[in-house]
């Protein structure tokens, strides 16, 4: 049995957005007890991560270290058509994940206690993002 649906997320620019609720609801609607939930983001400048979900400073720290590893406006980049965050957004997406597969147990995503599913918007401007769920 394969069920596919789309989750649309309107971002307000660079930040992490918790989508655990949307994913859990889609699994609940499908009525699947045991299986795999495959998430896929159809973009190259936003990504999917599993991150600690209790202390918000984890996600601001994550933003800081990523900005140091892949700085906006770095002079080594030629691809700057859409601004100083254009190429860094592609690199950040590739260094993290555009696909994510989660086990489903007892009708829910089998996440650890501290795991949340986040969409990470890497562009500074707001974007409409599309995630495909395949169950």
């Amino acid at each position: 049995m394969v069920i596919q649906e789309q989750i649309r997320i309107q971002t307000r620019g660079r930040n992490t957005y918790n989508i655990t609720g949307e994913v859990s609801e889609a699994i609940g609607r499908a009525g699947i007890e045991t299986g795999i939930c495959q998430l896929f983001i159809q973009h190259t400048s936003a990504s999917l991560i599993l991150c600690e979900n209790a202390d918000p400073s984890v996600r601001t720290d994550l933003e800081r270290i990523m900005s140091r590893l892949v700085p906006d406006g770095d002079p080594i980049f030629d691809h700057t058509l859409e601004g100083p965050d254009d190429m860094p957004a592609h690199v950040r997406s590739i260094l993290t994940h555009m696909d994510l597969s989660l086990p489903i147990s007892q009708g829910r995503p089998a996440l650890g206690t501290w795991q949340g599913i986040y969409l990470w918007e890497h562009r500074t401007h707001p974007h409409q993002r599309n995630v495909t769920l395949t169950l």
Copy 2:
């Protein structure tokens, strides 16, 4: 057909732990000839990687480069509640993988000759880690 089981690994602190044997045995027990084996670690400070399995210096070198990219005790981190390795463990997990999908061929994980499956413990203290296998 979906089979799910848990692998529990007791780590002795920051290091890589070869779990290829445990994964192969679970696939063997399930009796699946062709398919997909999905691994998922239910933590945010340890991760799953595929790594060269012949020369142990690959894994010590990996540890060194990761310690340089994401140093313990870096002053940019606010989330230091559990010590200088707390936030770096989250970043290392996100830069590597919490999920891993492997093809199964002829009843075994279809790994390349030099590929081994490792759990990478990022915390300096020992931890009990849980990996969910969905076949």
Copy 3:
């Protein structure tokens, strides 16, 4: 229903190689309308990425930033048996992806408009690379 096939790619050394066509053709041959396509590279010194497919400078910039994060010939590396690009190739593979799962919709990989599937050869010399597709 599970279908498995091999894609063989002869690389000409370090570079990105678009394999979107090969993957789409395999999905077409299998005749699967809705499902998951799992890609797996059976090597530890080449990887699979989803990358912007319009402007080639994205991929040259990607090469540059990766060469800065994980430089060839870095003196911290002990594992240098096969040359200065040996250990960096392992690290680059782990920081990107050896597995990739894509949704299949309407008989095709459900990629975003700007997403292409690339094999990233990290060794400077040409290699024969093997990717397993499980549908």
